[in-house]
């Protein structure tokens, strides 16, 4: 019996995709199976529009131990220490319910880390909101910060860095990207591929309910005013239970009795069973009757698509499952055998004794639809118009000031206006709400430097080391909007510069691609060129991509129905190696009389600058072009100077240029500076 067009559309499946499903199954799918395909073939889970573009990323390098395809990337940070890290987005849930949307974003990214066998040691977040003169934006901003603060503080992982931007382009669609770092504690890195016919499949963690139903496919649907009404697609997190889950999982992994593990993120049971089966080239049978529930009368569709939080799926070594269950009981967590590994590469779901769903695992998780699209060769009209901008169009100015709309402004007043704009102003109101010192490894406090620096302190063994890691998240989305290729290159270069400014050697990146609809030519032009820019920069700076997240359809239809795309925002999360945490530096001036050096060339370009946007309300011009040779040598000189102890502080010129950078160094060091620009 065929599914109705409404049912098919409701699952976000296109007509030709439905035809493909029928062909692969050799029959029509039932409601549960349709829902499983709907969520697994959404952009959020299978990257059907972006996968062809992601293939061009460099993913191998001498420090990379695990690249894309697993729950998180892993790099070697020296002395046998291995760092897991990843970034993920919770944009759409945060627009509907800011507190829980952001909180569950933190919970989800933490699970991606400890499911690899790593203890989470730090969290960063990259946030973008509309302008603060809008009441709804203020409500979203307050809720998101409080949600991150509540979850991170309760789970005991320090929130040590990140960025916050405010721009009209995000008013209907905030961006909430969370990045987490973890220190591997298990001998072997725990992978997600299931194996061993007959091995029991263990469901561990919280109970299952109807919350967040369809969260995954919802994440790829555009946010309209109507979506405000279909609100139940929001999950509620329990950080206290997650804290116990971290301890219990790490304890379980160290027994060696866990063959594979996967976090239940978007699409819950469907995603974990199909990905674990597909990654292992085997099948999984699961009995929904065994799943601990907190609501009664749930149908297979609801079990399979529920996005209840704090749940994991394990494959245990046959015969040792009770050993694992006892560990979870000690931490007052659910742990039940819910199925087993089978050789046929199928996901077979039972409910009340009958087969509720039976689908080839690879059909769900591996060979999923891919939409290679042609990148428009011609830049869109908005970009061409913007590139015609020239400095000449600005009012005349002298060394004393500038005449803007009839009133004379001096340069001090202009710098103060820039420093006062929310995107550049101090973010202390935000990070003061995050516990950024728990675990006692935070070497540089938030606001003190261009990147966060965390000491590596393994819990077990007498492994005393002065090693550390540095981390940052960066993206100037105005640059990417004006020129996706150069803007994306600049995002990677800025992340590497920020790490070099604390003395850390950049190793690898994770990335969160937040873009509009790829089905629109402008959207795809932005996505394709940005991915090319990331690939070029990662190649040139030797920072391979170890994975990440794609969030498309970030657009809002306002009341009149005109689509408002967000700025294309490829957030780069980069990690760096710190040989000795006592040899790092911040951005504030340290001593009176120290000399101030400008590394690199001062090629003044106002294209896409904060000055143009904030002071003149103009978004135009060509953003600066990154010269990789100069970039490499400037960063090497900076890192070398710090390691030799010649450099007392370092800071990169980002938004607001030289003037704002100098002001920030003065504020950080509570000292002034006398600057002689070449005349």
């Amino acid at each position: 019996m065929s599914c109705s067009p409404q049912e098919i559309a409701a699952e976000g499946i296109k007509a030709q995709e439905y035809a493909e499903i029928v062909q692969r199954l050799g029959r029509h799918p039932n409601k549960a199976e349709l829902g499983m395909f709907g969520v697994m073939w959404s952009e959020h889970c299978c990257y059907k529009n972006s996968r062809p573009l992601l293939k061009q990323f460099p993913t191998t390098g001498k420090y990379v131990l695990v690249g894309p395809g697993e729950n998180a990337g892993v790099v070697d940070v020296g002395d046998g220490l291995r760092l897991a890290f990843k970034i993920e987005s919770h944009n759409h849930p945060s627009a509907i319910e800011p507190f829980q949307g952001a909180a569950t974003g933190v919970g989800g990214i933490l699970r991606d880390i400890f499911t690899m066998g790593a203890r989470p040691i730090a969290v960063l977040n990259s946030l973008r909101f509309g302008t603060l003169d809008n009441a709804r934006t203020r409500r979203i901003f307050h809720g998101v910060v409080e949600g991150i603060s509540n979850y991170g503080n309760c789970v005991g992982v320090p929130t040590v860095g990140g960025e916050v931007y405010f721009d009209r382009a995000y008013s209907g669609n905030p961006l909430v990207n969370a990045m987490a770092l973890g220190l591997m504690e298990t001998e072997e890195i725990v992978k997600s591929g299931a194996s061993g016919e007959g091995n029991p499949v263990l469901y561990v963690g919280s109970t299952t309910g109807r919350d967040g139903l369809g969260g995954a496919s919802f994440a790829s649907a555009e946010l309209t005013d109507e979506s405000e009404r279909d609100r139940p697609a929001v999950q509620v997190g329990d950080p206290f239970l997650e804290k116990s889950l971290i301890e219990a999982c790490l304890e379980a992994f160290k027994t060696g009795a866990v063959v594979a593990a996967q976090d239940m993120g978007a699409a819950g049971i469907t995603c974990s069973t199909s990905e674990m089966a597909a990654n292992g080239g085997v099948g999984i049978e699961l009995d929904l009757d065994k799943i601990p529930v907190r609501e009664s009368g749930m149908i297979p569709y609801e079990y399979l698509l529920s996005e209840s939080q704090e749940r994991m799926l394990f494959v245990a070594a046959k015969g040792r499952e009770q050993e694992l269950i006892d560990i979870f009981k000690r931490w007052e967590l659910e742990a039940v055998v819910a199925g087993k590994v089978i050789t046929e590469p199928l996901v077979r779901i039972f409910h009340q004794g009958e087969i509720a769903a039976e689908i080839p695992a690879t059909a769900l998780a591996d060979n999923t639809p891919i939409y290679p699209r042609e990148t428009p060769s011609e830049p869109p009209e908005y970009a061409q118009k913007a590139w015609e901008w020239s400095v000449g169009s600005l009012p005349p100015c002298t060394k004393d000031g500038i005449l803007i709309q009839g009133n004379q402004r001096n340069w001090s007043d202009i710098v103060l206006q820039l420093l006062d704009s929310p995107s550049l102003a101090s973010k202390q109101w935000v990070y003061r709400q995050y516990d950024h010192q728990v675990q006692n490894n935070t070497v540089i406090l938030p606001g003190g430097a261009d990147a966060a620096v965390i000491r590596l302190r393994p819990q077990e063994g007498s492994h005393t080391t002065q090693r550390g890691v540095a981390a940052t998240t960066d993206c100037n989305s105005r640059y990417v909007y004006l020129n996706p290729y150069e803007g994306a290159k600049a995002a990677v270069a800025e992340a590497a510069r920020n790490l070099s400014c604390v003395g850390a050697e950049p190793l690898a990146i994770t990335n969160n691609l937040n873009f509009g609809s790829p089905e629109k030519p402008v959207g795809y032009w932005q996505l394709a060129n940005a991915c090319a820019g990331i690939a070029a920069a990662c190649e040139a700076l030797e920072t391979p991509v170890t994975g990440g997240n794609v969030s498309l359809y970030n657009e809002t239809l306002d009341a009149e129905g005109t689509p408002q795309a967000i700025y294309p925002t490829p957030v780069i999360g980069m990690v760096g190696k710190v040989e000795d945490v006592t040899q790092v530096c911040g951005q504030g001036w340290q001593n009176e009389g120290d000399l101030i050096y400008l590394l690199g060339e001062n090629r003044a370009t106002l294209g896409g600058s904060e000055y143009l946007a904030v002071v003149h309300d103009v978004v135009a011009g060509k953003p600066p072009v990154v010269d990789f040779n100069l970039e490499r040598s400037v960063q090497m000189a900076c890192r070398g100077g710090i390691q030799q102890g010649w450099v007392n502080s370092a800071h990169d010129c980002a938004e607001g240029g030289l003037a704002v950078a100098l002001a920030e160094c003065c504020l950080g060091g509570q000292r002034g500076a006398k600057i002689q620009l070449e005349n």
Partner: protein, 92 residues
């Protein structure tokens, strides 16, 4: 002449929404030996006074206040009780 009312508002999580606080308190009560306790749900209790023309106007005002601020319709339900405060006992 406006009448003074005393309102008691109960804001609770919608049944389908996980209530971690309720779960933690329930297990706490069980540990204390109160095993028969079930279905613990924790919500907010808000007391306030307001003045309005009459009972229906007060109720309308209260409904609006709950929808716009006191409750989060995404994950919470609300109900309230409204009593006229006798004129002399008006609590200034």
């Amino acid at each position: 002449m406006a009448i003074q009312f005393k309102a008691r508002i109960y804001v609770t999580l919608r049944p389908s929404v996980l209530d971690p606080a309720g779960v933690a308190v329930q297990s706490g009560l069980h540990q204390l030996g109160y095993d028969s306790v079930e279905g613990v749900r924790i919500g907010k209790y808000i007391e306030l006074q307001l003045s309005a023309e009459n009972q229906t106007a007060a109720e309308a005002q209260l409904d609006q206040m709950c929808d716009r601020l006191l409750a989060n319709p995404v994950i919470e339900n609300y109900c309230f009780e409204l009593d006229e405060v006798p004129a002399l006992a008006v609590d200034r």
